[in-house]
């Protein structure tokens, strides 16, 4: 069987884009959740942080669900074998997403400091765990997984190898940097200043950790390069280097006070990193670190062309629409959040909800 066809390669790219979009968008949600304890002085600050992503976090998370659904439809074997293999890792992410998901909606519902504190911690921990596990997972895809005929069977422990842990920390730092820049764009006054201040060390850490991750991956090599259609190693390396450069540029820009451009820089770094990950993997969807022939390829995992054509038509019609109205939401809520004048910590201040 061919390692890929035009249609299946297109869907591989679509799924890459969905993941990239997911990490670009939910990346700053995670980041805001993670840096909230660093930049907040009181309950109102923490509330501002949560409300900064309030109107959009749910829509951002749907990118993940669509990536999951699209993988199921376009690559049933990828969906089936990967998730049973990475069972506990995916479970951890799901738990983290549940805990942080309800934290947004529940936090303001009871007028009790302890209650709000609990959900602040839930939001922080959920964001942190999800970001870390995603980083570990995708670094593993770059290095390849030890695969047997039954797929990956190494369990959670097998995923927690040194390069993957560094990759996980890199994801943490990149998202935290991305989120702190988002906060500096969405808030005002002292909170904005503090968000800008924490952005610098976070940006430094992100650039260094991502550089190490890229270098480690480049040094490790990949046995599945022998598969026909594999992208020359220079391409993902170049994308990875550009991602690190974008982070460095973002760091420079934020020190100059150009937060908007800096945010574009972290966004670019995330998109470029995901480009690198998918370029490294192609034409494998589950790349084997123990021999090219064991890899699950795009061609072998893909659905029948009929399904792919149907999906292509549906996606071509509706994706522009989705981008349009998601974009519109950001436009509607483009203003910076203001600290309430009385700094009243009493909950439902506005709208009573």
């Amino acid at each position: 069987m061919a390692t890929f066809t035009g249609l299946s390669a297109l869907w591989f790219a679509v799924i890459g884009l969905l993941w990239a979009g997911y990490f670009f968008l939910e990346g700053f949600d995670f980041g805001v959740g993670m840096v909230s304890p660093l930049v907040s002085r009181d309950d109102t600050d923490r509330r501002l942080c949560m409300n900064a992503v309030g109107p959009v976090w749910d829509g951002n998370e749907v990118w993940l669900l669509v990536a999951g659904g699209a993988t199921f439809a376009a690559f049933p074997r990828w969906y089936g074998l990967l998730f049973q293999g990475a069972y506990l890792a995916l479970f951890l992410v799901l738990m983290a997403l549940i805990v942080r998901g309800v934290s947004f909606e529940f936090r303001g519902k009871l007028d009790s400091a302890g209650w709000r504190r609990t959900w602040d911690i839930a939001n922080f921990a959920g964001s942190l765990v999800a970001a870390l596990v995603w980083g570990v997972a995708f670094t593993n895809f770059v290095h390849g997984l030890p695969v047997s005929a039954a797929g990956y069977t190494g369990g959670l422990i097998g995923l927690l190898n040194p390069p993957a842990l560094v990759g996980g920390l890199a994801a943490l730092a990149v998202f935290a940097f991305h989120g702190s820049l988002f906060l500096s764009l969405k808030t005002s006054g002292e909170l904005m200043q503090r968000a800008r201040r924490v952005a610098r060390p976070l940006g430094g850490a992100a650039a260094v950790l991502l550089a190490v991750t890229v270098a480690w991956a480049a040094a490790a090599g990949r046995p599945w390069q022998a598969l026909s259609g594999a992208v020359p190693a220079g391409v993902p390396l170049a994308l990875g280097v550009l991602a690190v450069a974008s982070l460095a540029a973002a760091l420079l820009l934020v020190t100059r006070g150009w937060d908007g451009f800096a945010f574009a820089g972290t966004g670019a770094a995330i998109l470029l990193s995901m480009g690198a990950v998918f370029a490294v993997m192609f034409p494998a969807v589950i790349p084997a670190s123990n021999g090219a022939a064991l890899s699950l390829t795009v061609g072998a995992a893909a659905s029948h062309p009929y399904t792919l054509v149907v999906m292509t038509i549906v996606a071509a019609i509706f994706t522009p629409l989705v981008l349009l109205y998601q974009g519109w939401t950001y436009w509607v809520f483009r203003q910076r959040l203001q600290r309430p004048i009385a700094a009243a910590t009493a909950e439902p201040a506005a709208g009573g909800r």
Binding site: R47, M50, N51, G54, P55, V56, D58, E61, V62, L65, V66, G68, G69, A70, T71, F72, A73, A74, F75, P76, R77, Y79, G80, L81, L82, F83, Y87, L88, L90, F91, L94, L97, I98, G101, V102, F104, E105, F106, G108, K109, G151, S303, T307, V310, M311, V314, F318, Y325, Q326, T329, V332, F333, Q335, L337, Q338, A349, A350, G351, G352, R353
Partner: protein
């Protein structure tokens, strides 16, 4: 062992998710109706009610959303072989559900929650209708996936995978359309029953005439909503039964625990003893099962023994009979709850006509208990239809035992325990918050964020 645990895990995470889904679909639609009445008639009462029930809707939505994330991945986690077999077909509606429905819901809910006072009233009203459309679209696509498991259409099997050959057939599946109407009508009834129970209770305890009047109006409307939607649910359910009689005769027989083929089969309201064919005590309605199955007085309903023999001959030796006590009692719980809802809402309409809706003590108690009826019906209906398909995961194509992942029983057991623990906490918290929201005073209009309050700056809602 992995198989049983995986089945328990799927049953628990799905049924729990589905406590909130119909509630959310129903409440969203009803809040949209209330807000429409408020905007079009410039009626303050409906505006207050829409805000009041909007709060409860958001709690239900939040739990529904987070538990829904789990389901998107549950197939890959625990049902890997199934996923590989059906992905070509089953995955498509799932992906389309995300692209068409989840994006709409999640984006516009943000606009609705944070856009109050910032978007114009009509645009703000439009956002909640878009959310409602999203929830209903979502129901359609996930039911398209499920209907294919009940009654596979538009496919061939190639190299051990079911392959889609006709997307139109997938979306035109008769099973899908019947269950879509049934599920959405039941969801509206679920929301209606909740609004009814809370409204009656609040109208009774209202501190003043304004609040009493507002909740009385809400309750009166909900009596009509519940009656109409439960009747639609019943009619579409009957349509489903006739499709089931042709498409899954074993499930029809299992609904009654009917062992042998019968003409003019009767329907037992309840059975004491066991369902082995020699019950100790039964109350039976003559000919009713035949009427349910094919709308005829003396129509033939095929028995379990005959179906077992037919399927064994077609698919090879094996047990093709579902767990009968489960299908039998779930079928009765579903129908019984529906009948009680029809009677209860008709009673409410009569009381309302006699202007005794709020004073009636017995109706108040019934309406509060009635909140649970659709929840029971929804859960038992789904347990019936999924358990009644067993041993098949895809009817006639793949057995449930062949669809399971190759993960260790310990992993499934551990995650199952964690899901149960976390979901239990979520259930308690959601219940506390809903009760609290139900006690919340109706907003006075001056509490609403007015245009004087820096209209363009996003507010702090969470």
């Amino acid at each position: 062992m992995t198989l049983d645990l995986a089945r328990w895990q799927f049953a628990i995470v799905t049924v729990f998710h589905f406590f909130f889904v119909p509630m959310t679909i129903g409440l969203c639609f009803l809040v949209a109706v209330m807000q429409t009445l408020a905007v079009l008639r410039k009626d303050e009462t409906w505006d207050r009610l829409s805000r009041f029930f909007g709060r409860i809707f958001l709690i239900s939505l939040a739990v529904g959303v987070v538990t829904g994330i789990v389901l998107e991945f549950q197939f890959g986690l625990n049902w890997s072989a199934y996923s590989v077999f059906v992905g070509n077909i089953f995955g498509a509606p799932l992906a389309i559900e995300g692209l068409l429905a989840f994006f709409l819901e999640s984006t516009f809910i943000g606009l609705w929650v944070f856009g109050r006072g910032r978007l114009s009233p009509r645009l703000h009203l439009a956002t909640i209708w878009v959310v409602s459309a999203g929830t209903i679209l979502s129901a359609f696509f996930i039911l398209a996936a499920n209907a294919w498991m009940q009654h596979p259409v538009g496919y061939t099997v190639e190299d051990g995978q079911a392959v889609l050959t006709d997307f139109g057939a997938l979306l035109g599946n008769s099973t899908l359309w019947a269950s879509f109407v049934h599920t959405v009508a039941a969801a509206f009834a679920t929301g209606g029953a909740l609004v009814l129970g809370i409204s009656i209770w609040r109208a009774h305890r209202a501190p003043g005439d304004v609040e009493r009047d507002a909740f009385r109006r809400g309750a009166t409307l909900m009596c009509v909503v519940v009656l109409v939607t439960v009747v639609v649910t019943a009619v579409s359910g009957d349509l489903q039964a006739r499709l089931m009689d042709v498409q899954q005769p074993m499930k029809m027989a299992a609904a009654e625990a009917l062992y042998n083929t019968q003409n003019g089969a009767s329907f037992s309201l309840l059975t004491i003893g066991n369902l082995s064919g020699q019950p100790i005590f039964q109350i039976r309605v003559p000919h009713l099962l035949s009427l349910i199955a094919d709308l005829s007085w003396n129509g033939q309903v095929i028995g379990i023994n005959q179906m077992q023999a037919t399927e064994a001959a077609r698919y090879g030796a094996g047990n093709y009979t579902p767990v009968l006590w489960l299908t039998y009692w779930c079928f009765r719980a579903m129908i019984g709850a529906g009948v009680l809802m029809i009677l209860g809402s008709a009673w409410g309409i009569w009381l309302s006509w006699r202007r005794r809706l709020v004073p009636s003590r017995w109706f108040r108690r019934a309406a509060l208990l009635g909140i649970a009826l659709p929840v029971v019906a929804n859960a038992s209906g789904w347990i019936f239809t999924e358990a009644g398909r067993q041993p098949w995961i895809v009817y006639g194509l793949m057995e449930t035992a062949k669809g399971v992942s190759t993960v260790s029983a310990a992993d499934v057991a551990g995650t199952l325990a964690a899901f149960v623990a976390v979901y239990s906490i979520l259930a308690v918290l959601a219940a506390i918050l809903v009760v609290r929201a139900a006690r919340h005073p109706l907003d006075r209009v001056d509490e609403a964020p007015g245009p004087d309050e820096t209209p363009s700056a996003p507010g702090l809602v969470y």
